[in-house]
Amino acid sequence: MIRICDLDFAYPNGPFRLRLPELQLPRGTHAAFIGPSGSGKTTLLFLLGGVLTPRAGHIWAGELEITALEEASRRDFRLRRIGMVFQEFELIEYLTVRDNILLPYRLCRRLRLNGAVVRRAEALAEKVALGDKLDRFVDCLSFGERQRVGLCRALVIEPELVLADEPTAGLDPASKALVVEALLGYARSSGATLVMVTHDGDLLPHFDQVIDLGSFQEAKP
């Protein structure tokens, strides 16, 4: 379960401020964050992932209070237990598709890269129609293909929490369908919690919970 309590966040040099008195996302929930640009959707996602730290308040992931963790532990938690899909892919240009997918295993000493992991990466790539592009560099891929590489990288560690920041923005319908199907499919099959930031109203019926950060009202789909 994700639980937020009295959250208060502000960027050091800017007027933006995010206040969230309380939010609960039960384990296995598929939640969507919606709202206008600047309403703090991505910021909240990064706070949940421990990329940003709040000025005040608490965030729990299950029994673990993320906001109470040291930076090193927070990074380690993020690498091992959270799969993050970024709006701008955040891929490494000098790595092949395969190496980009396996990157978390190269960065975290506690994740062991072995044959099973490589096979899992290849199966994920196959599922999102990247099986024949594993040895290509990412700058040779289309927009949609790059997003799918980012998706595979997020899922390869088999995370218990998936945070996706507008993963379908700018994608063609085929790529969008592949990404959404892969995310929801993984969340359903593994029981992981999925939180997705989206502007795409067509996707909302797929989610159990839709949180409108613009008005900060929890809405039913």
């Binding site: 990074r75 690498l79 891929l91 000098y94 790595l95 190269r106 960065l107």
Partner: protein, 393 residues
């Protein structure tokens, strides 16, 4: 660590042009001073050992270095010539054994050294194949010459014409190769040895031709004055010494006046050496007598001074190159800021990212060090040839 090395390798391989330039720059900066030092050390060892084993060299006044390099390495520069009579004078003095050397002609680029059999004994040269030269027109080849040219005993070695356009110049002489020397690892491997008189034949100071007193040579007789017979241009001159014509070879004039390049003097003892050197002292003397080791040490002092200067200059260039390489790294880090941010977002620690960059730097420096070591090894292997080419020839 393996994971970081993998990522570092991927980065370097992806930016291969930048990597190659960096590796080459750093390799050269590492290699040039080390290679230079290796070369200078080899030069010292090679030049000093050869010079130290040659007690005294007597030659005509001129450049001491030119004379010493000619005698020790058969260099291309020709020092002024002296007369053979001076070699006889040294021998007659009883102070030293005199080994005359005439090093002027070549056979397809390889120097021909005209000398006596004493030279072979002095340098410890041993025939590995065939036999020693025994008569006029014979020669023996150094091991490297024989290997390079595929020479075997009984092959012919032809001296090169000195000047194609000089009709009065030395004509090629076809010499008989009687033996091949065992390799010594010294410049003697790269020369052809002939008897001193053979080199005078090449020069034209001795020659063989048809016997004009015989009836079949009547067409070649221009005039007869008592016992003297004057031949015309149709007289056949021999360009090869054979068992049939060797008797016809003869010398004109006094051999004491014949040219030689130098005399290696092997003094009986230090006192004899001092006495001998004393005889050739003074500005008016037409000859110079040298201790080769002193001349070579002078040369090495110059080489070492140049080396120090070059190393100092290289230190500056090296510092500049390293500064540039550092700048390239720092600039590339700025360009890679987004990549670093991505790694942080994914959960990589600053230490892990620093280790990744350090692995890339280590990869570049390591590759440069390996390349520099290979260059140095190649320099050490080819050092003797490089020295001969640039310093001696």
């Amino acid at each position: 660590m393996r994971d970081l090395l993998h990522l570092a390798w991927r980065y370097l391989a992806y930016h291969r042009a930048k990597t190659v330039v960096l590796v080459l720059s750093i390799a050269l900066i590492l290699y040039v001073p080390i290679g230079l030092r290796v070369l200078v050390r080899q030069a010292r060892a090679e030049l000093a050992s050869r010079a130290a084993s040659t007690p005294l060299i007597l030659g005509a006044k001129g450049s001491p270095l030119e004379l010493v390099l000619k005698v020790l390495y058969a260099g291309r520069q020709d020092p002024p010539l002296m007369r053979y009579g001076e070699a006889e004078r040294v021998a007659k003095s009883g102070l030293a054994q005199a080994i005359p050397l005439y090093i002027r002609y070549r056979a397809q680029g390889d120097p021909i050294i005209g000398t006596t059999l004493d030279y072979f004994a002095f340098r410890g040269l041993r025939i590995a194949e065939g036999r020693q030269m025994t008569r006029l027109g014979d020669c023996v080849a150094g091991a490297e010459v024989a290997r390079r040219r595929g020479l075997r005993p009984q092959d012919a070695v032809v001296s090169s014409a000195e000047n194609l356009f000089d009709v009065g110049g030395a004509y090629p002489l076809k010499m008989r190769l009687t033996g091949i020397l065992a390799p010594t690892g010294t410049p003697d491997d790269r020369v052809i040895f002939a008897d001193l008189k053979t080199t005078w034949v090449i020069e034209g100071l001795a020659h063989g031709h048809q016997d004009l007193s015989r009836p079949e040579a009547a067409a070649g007789v221009l005039a007869r004055k008592g016992a003297n017979v004057i031949g015309n241009a149709s007289v056949v001159e021999y360009n090869e010494v054979t068992d049939d014509n060797i008797a016809s070879f003869h010398f004109h004039g006094d051999p004491a006046a014949y040219p030689i390049t130098a005399v290696i003097a092997l003094p009986r003892d230090e006192k004899a050496a001092t006495l001998l050197m004393g005889r050739y002292e003074g500005a008016a003397a037409a000859h110079q007598i040298l201790r080769p080791i002193e001349v070579i040490e002078d040369l090495l002092r110059t080489v070492l001074a140049v080396e120090k200067f070059v190393v100092a200059a290289l230190a500056l260039v090296g510092a500049t190159t390293l500064a540039t390489a550092t700048l390239v790294f720092l600039l590339s880090l700025r360009l890679r800021r987004r990549e670093m941010e991505t790694l942080v977002k994914l959960g990589a620690s600053r230490g892990r990212i620093a280790a990744l960059v350090a692995s890339e730097i280590a990869g570049v420096v390591g590759a440069a060090a390996v390349l520099a070591a290979l260059f140095t090894w190649a320099t050490a292997a080819a050092g003797a040839n490089l020295l001969r080419r640039f310093l001696i020839e």
